[in-house]
């Protein structure tokens, strides 16, 4: 019996992860609720003054989305590691990077997409000017896959460890600094009426690079962390 093609493996992993997420669809709402609550805290902490909130709105939404994704990252490999299916992936004849790309895509679809859908609401709550909203959404569309890819790379290194929550933040957030800078740069340029294409183009370039390299690096990281 010959092994199924790489495409079949990719589709099977994607389908399995999406199905698992669908069976536990209550959990998919948790990152959105978390982001909503964190964004609600800012007006309490800083006062409800509209001018101040509209100036920081884009940054708050960006950081909130980043933190919500960070919290969900630990669930990317750990359940599979605990029930043994991750080792089956490592043993599969298909390229591991490709299978991990399917897992990362599934993670993005189930975590980042709900956050993307919720972020106009967050932005409106913080009085972001409506004209800037498309730029923020474009920045988020480019930045969230980057966060998923880099996050998967880092979380793969921590799979074999017991505690990883705070460690994950310590490892991942320095890598996220450029993403936040460029995404926030685009929005603040748009807010000041300046051209905002350049930071978005940088984000896009980084995303293309990460799409090519991160799954392969993630596979290497997983093999190192599990000593496989």
């Amino acid at each position: 019996m010959s092994a199924p093609s790489a495409r079949a493996g990719y589709v099977a992993v994607l389908r399995r992860d999406l199905l698992l997420a669908w069976r536990r669809r209550g959990e998919a709402a948790l990152p959105v609720l978390y982001a909503l609550i964190v964004a609600t805290l800012f007006p309490f902490a800083l006062g409800p003054e509209g001018a101040l909130l509209s100036r920081i709105a884009a940054g708050v939404v960006l950081v909130t989305v980043l933190l919500a994704m960070l919290l969900s990252l630990d669930g990317l490999f750990r359940p599979d590691w605990e029930d043994g299916s991750l080792e089956q992936l490592l043993l599969a004849p298909q390229p591991l990077g490709l299978l991990l790309a399917a897992k990362i895509l599934a993670h993005w679809l189930t975590t980042a997409l709900p956050l993307l859908l919720a972020s106009p609401l967050l932005a409106a709550m913080l009085h972001l000017p409506t004209a800037v909203l498309p730029v923020l959404m474009a920045a988020l569309v480019l930045a969230t896959p980057l966060m998923s890819l880099l996050g998967a790379l880092v979380v793969a290194l921590t799979v074999g460890t017991r505690r990883s929550g705070m460690l994950l933040a310590l490892m991942l957030l320095p890598l996220m600094v450029p993403v936040v800078i460029f995404a926030a740069g685009a929005v603040s340029a748009a807010q000041q009426g300046l051209p905002f294409i350049a930071p978005l183009a940088w984000l896009g370039a980084a995303l293309v690079l990460a799409l090519v390299l991160a799954p392969a690096a993630c596979a290497a990281a997983l093999r190192i962390a599990l000593d496989a």
């Binding site: 880092v154 290194l157 074999g160 460890t161 017991r162 310590l170 320095p174 890598l175 460029f182 990281a221």
Partner: protein
């Protein structure tokens, strides 16, 4: 054949490299060299500090306050150099699985973090009288802070594993990802308006600093490199003993050094 009769320089280097990979050999080698490293560190530090604090003229603009440069700048150089060294050793450890390279990579991380911390502290002490602020969100400062977080991430990941060697490999991989990230961080923050002064000491082309200030700076840089060597050899010796605790050579050393034999 001439090639067989006398070993070439290359052959000797290869032999030395392979001998260094052996833990007992390295342990003895490090023990022999450590006193020389600390002696050279202290001598160069005294010369460099004397030249910097007493001989060098005061700055026409900053007065005597600029003299913190003789600590700040060598430490800043070392924070980057140590990271490069750690990543290089990590790469060797990942590719060839050399135990000693893993140990050197992991043991240089805390030293690099310390250099980064000293750079940040002295920079903020320097910033208060010059800029009127302990801290600003300037490009250089921010990327140095990110460098500190990268170091701490590497150290944290290393200690999160129960198996030391597995932890070392995972942390070395993280260090390599950080190498890719460092220039990106640097250039992304360079785009901000920046308060920190530009480069004054340049490898290529004339430096924008007078010789009487430059030579103490370079001496201090040499001294910090030697300190890295001293500290790293000592840390690596301890880590080797811990890792190889069950082996005969480590047990022999432990028995010899034990107070009651």
């Amino acid at each position: 054949m001439n090639a067989h009769s006398s070993p070439t320089l290359w052959n000797r280097l290869v032999l030395w490299y392979h001998q260094m990979g052996s833990p007992p050999y390295f342990y003895a080698f490090a023990g022999r060299w450590r006193p020389w490293f600390i002696a050279a560190t202290l001598i160069t530090a005294v010369i460099g500090l004397y030249g910097g604090l007493l001989l060098a003229p005061a700055d026409y603009q900053q007065g005597d306050a600029y003299r913190i440069i003789f600590i700040h700048v060598p430490c800043a150089w070392m924070s980057l150099f140590t990271y490069a060294f750690m990543a290089g050793c990590g790469l060797v450890g990942l590719v060839w699985r050399v135990k000693l390279a893993e140990i050197l990579a992991m043991e240089s991380a805390p030293i690099g973090a310390a250099f980064t911390f000293v750079t940040l502290v002295t920079g903020s002490l320097w910033g208060k009288p010059m800029w009127g602020a302990w801290w600003t969100w300037d490009a250089r400062l921010t990327s140095e802070l990110v460098l500190l977080f990268l170091y701490l991430g590497v150290i944290g990941l290393y200690h999160a594993f129960e198996d030391t060697r597995q932890g070392a490999r995972a942390a070395a991989f993280l260090a390599l990802i950080g190498v890719v990230n460092l220039p990106i961080v640097h250039y992304s923050v360079v785009w901000w308006n920046t308060l920190h002064q530009g480069t004054t000491v340049r490898l290529f082309g004339p430096s924008r600093i007078t010789w009487s200030m430059l030579w103490p700076l370079l001496t201090m840089a040499l001294s910090t490199h030697l300190y890295l060597g001293w500290s790293l050899l000592g840390r690596a010796r301890v880590a080797l003993l811990e890792l190889e605790g069950g082996k005969d050579w480590a047990r022999a050393i432990a028995l010899k050094d034990a107070p009651h034999g």
